[in-house]
Symmetry: C2
Subunit: 497 residues, 2 copies
């Protein structure tokens, strides 16, 4: 057997293990009775240890070296080797005692965070978070040495392979200069229109579920390879060819679940559309978190808050809930789905104010990882950043620097992918609409095939064949910049002319 | 660490793996979209290989030998060692190539069986079934040599540890002599009453689900450690402290789902009630299939087809479906739930005719394993046995020897546990009602605590501490015999006096 075939077979087995873990994780979040938590934790820990052992199998290094000298490989296979080396370098970069210490520190910090957030008590979190930060920094150093990267870039690489803080700085500085003034202007324009009253409910769960299922089907989601269920925190998960999304229903407001379902369907279409021939291989995986987030935001923000979508969806919504009246006309619904508001909480933010939340976190985590700022000063720096970027100051840390689980759970380097994703979504949607003139008119008819067909060819089926920059350049003609995103916001939120 | 502690830790890890497999199996049957079948098969195969590797870990033999010489162990720990040795002996008895050949033959035979049953074409199944039978015989020989058992007893041992064909012969001969005449008499008694017309539906799925949930709760099922879902073939599965049952709903007839739910709840109560301190250890497992089946049949047949249960359940059913009238009175419902009928299909049989189906299969599989009968003669022998035991002859093999998947799927030695379970259920229920005078009156009030409390102490919490005979002797004063089962049938199905 060739070295490449050995590698490929090994990664198919790792995929079989990852798929098992993926379904058990979905079950833990969507199905598992509370009393099973202890037994489930044992099972998950065991499978994760076995998965890690497979990922650092000592034969991999030799196979890799030999396969990389194989002249008979296809482009896809070469790209697969590049991705396998990337995964393997990261997995073998960390000493086992650092992994164990990190896992322990994260568990303790997540518990402390739940309490600290409930009581808005940052000082009680400080020692736990300091430990997590210290170990993240060490991990960044270890991975950075292996990969030839700076500490922050090494952390970012886990979520955004090939990503560089230097490039993100430029993109985010551009946005940060643009957004405060733009937000003022957009809010002023909005203030000249009456605010819509809430739609009259209740909206029964079953009717919401049917509506969500109908929209998912219209978007192109394949129910023979996935499911829609309920969980406290909506997500897209599961396994290869088994891409499951969740939502939660509020009977007084159906829009949250509907927009959440559309968002997760964007992620799911990407996962369902990955290249079948490389489904379990590293090159067959989604390109990174910014491209993944671009797919959810493309559906939620670009496609499904467009006037075209509401032209299609308004009668579907009226039918779903037996509703009628002027509030249920397409134009009124579109106005409703493009309302903006400055707020303290990132996950509640609209597309105009969201980037400010992300830029704040990105700048702070970069400074903290670089040890350029004492962790104790985080609340102060947070509030100052909120004032600069968004013009509001949280009344307490629960509504400020304690709101997100990312840092306590060791997810340093993740935050920028949200806004990179929003910008990527705008650039891709714009390119899709140019390349497929029927993309937007199709949406108005509930026909997403022109749009999704373009995404399938240009994004889904490419997996990790190219680095992110090249993927985007091939699809849109250039690497990521902020211009299309800014133009999108201006077109949607500023008065015409 | 002591040898016993090493063993115990090792079996906790095996349990963690079994629990993962159990949830994934549940998911495959109750949740998985069809398109995921391929990826799931890969995951299941990988986890089963890893589980098998753990079960035959070369350190186990030494640990066992050392632990068995340890004078400081408790009774439970000694019983655990006995069970560990039993499991280990079986797992290490089979050569790997026999396991692989068997697994391959079973897959092919199951496929051929689906086709053969659909077309009632036994000859097309014959070569596949012959191969499975040959390999089962070889497995029986290999396990028999290791365990010091005859070939059939070695196969039986997988489902009924400690079971012996010689004892089963005596029990089944007793029943086989009794049942044909008894069935005649019971049918004659039944014919003197008018047959009930079907209850007027439809019975909406959601109302059936709520009724099932209510009855499960009354029986003592713990929803914080389990779930009720839907699958094509109802089962009780899942994991430690996560005991999930399934049913299927027919909107024209709610009784099937209800009685099915009660049956699976009987299994689930046993699983939920296993000793918490040994949950993942061999000694903490259910005692065997006949005791397991006794728990489902005790609930379904003994407790919940009693007049007492219907006195409680009749108003609950009327409320569930907004029903009323003479057909919905407790007495009328009880008559309905104790109707009997001779039929060709085992899974549709009532408690009077069911044993005939089992005794037939038991006698045939014993003869086939002993090579005392050519496999090609199975259809003829089947029909002759049906005539002798039940007085009817199937018009074709689909309604005859092709109806069950057990033989094609390599489950030789399983069938007798169904009727051993029915007899055990009668003997245990009788003992429970004697020991707890409030057991039956409790059921009439919907209070199952007296009955289930006795079962918990005498069966559930005993796990595999005792061999089956001793468990039953401790609970009922004597080993299994047919007398209580026969008395139960006579009391229920023959006219009083």
């Amino acid at each position: 057997m060739s070295a490449y075939a050995s590698l490929s077979g090994h990664f198919d087995r790792i995929a079989a293990m990852s798929n098992a873990i993926g379904i058990l994780q979905w079950d833990s979040d969507a199905m598992m009775p509370t009393g099973a938590a202890g037994a489930r934790a044992e099972s998950m820990a065991l499978l994760r240890v076995l998965q890690h052992e497979m990922a650092v199998d000592p034969r991999l290094g030799d196979w890799l070296a030999e396969a990389e000298g194989d002249a008979d490989l296809t482009d896809w296979e070469r790209a697969n080797l590049r991705e396998i080396r990337r995964v393997w370098s990261v997995q073998t970069a960390l000493p086992a005692d650092l992994v164990a210490a990190s896992s322990k520190a994260v568990s303790a910090c997540e518990m402390a965070w739940r309490q600290a957030r409930a009581e808005s008590d940052f000082p009680s979190l400080l020692p736990y978070l300091a430990e997590v930060l210290k170990l993240q920094r060490e991990a960044g150093v270890a991975k950075g040495e292996r990969l030839g990267l700076g500490v922050y870039d090494a952390l970012l690489n886990d979520y955004e392979p090939g990503g560089r803080a230097q490039k993100i700085d430029a993109l985010f500085d551009d946005l940060a200069a643009f957004l405060p003034g733009f937000t003022e202007e957009a809010l002023a324009a909005q203030a000249r229109r009456p605010a819509p009253a809430p739609l009259e409910g209740p909206f029964p769960v079953e009717a919401q579920r049917r509506l969500g299922t109908r929209i998912m089907t219209a978007l192109g989601y394949d129910f023979s390879r996935g499911r829609l269920d309920v969980s406290t925190h909506p997500f897209c998960g599961g396994a290869d060819n088994d891409v499951r999304i969740t939502t939660r229903y509020d009977e007084t407001d159906f829009s949250k679940a509907l927009m959440g379902v559309i968002h997760e369907t964007g992620h799911a279409l990407y996962e369902q559309g990955r290249p079948a021939a490389y489904m379990g291989q590293p090159v067959g995986q989604a390109r990174g978190m910014s491209v993944h987030e671009s797919q959810s935001l493309l559906m939620e923000m670009q496609a499904c808050r467009s006037p075209q979508f509401l032209a299609y969806a308004a009668p579907v919504m009226r039918e779903a809930f037996g509703a009628s009246g002027p509030d249920w006309e397409a134009e009124a619904l579109w106005r409703r789905y493009t309302r903006i508001e400055r707020g303290f909480i990132r996950v509640d933010a609209d597309e105009v104010t969201y980037p400010a939340h992300v830029i704040l976190r990105y700048r702070l985590e970069k400074a903290l990882i670089a040890d350029a700022m004492p962790l104790a000063e985080l609340p102060m720096a947070w509030n100052a950043g909120m004032k600069d970027l968004l013009g509001i100051i949280p009344p307490n840390d629960a509504l400020g620097c304690l709101q997100d689980i990312h840092w306590p759970s060791g997810g340093w380097g993740y935050f920028p992918t949200y806004t990179l994703g929003a910008m990527t979504a705008a650039q891709l949607f714009d390119a899709a609409c140019r390349a497929e003139p029927d993309a937007l008119p199709g949406i108005a008819r509930g026909d997403f095939a022109p749009l999704v067909g373009w995404l399938r060819t240009n994004i889904y089926e490419q997996g990790s064949r190219y680095e992110t920059d090249e993927l985007l350049t091939r699809a849109t003609g250039r690497p990521l910049d902020a211009s299309v995103f800014k133009a999108h916001l201006a077109r949607r939120y500023l008065p015409a002319g």
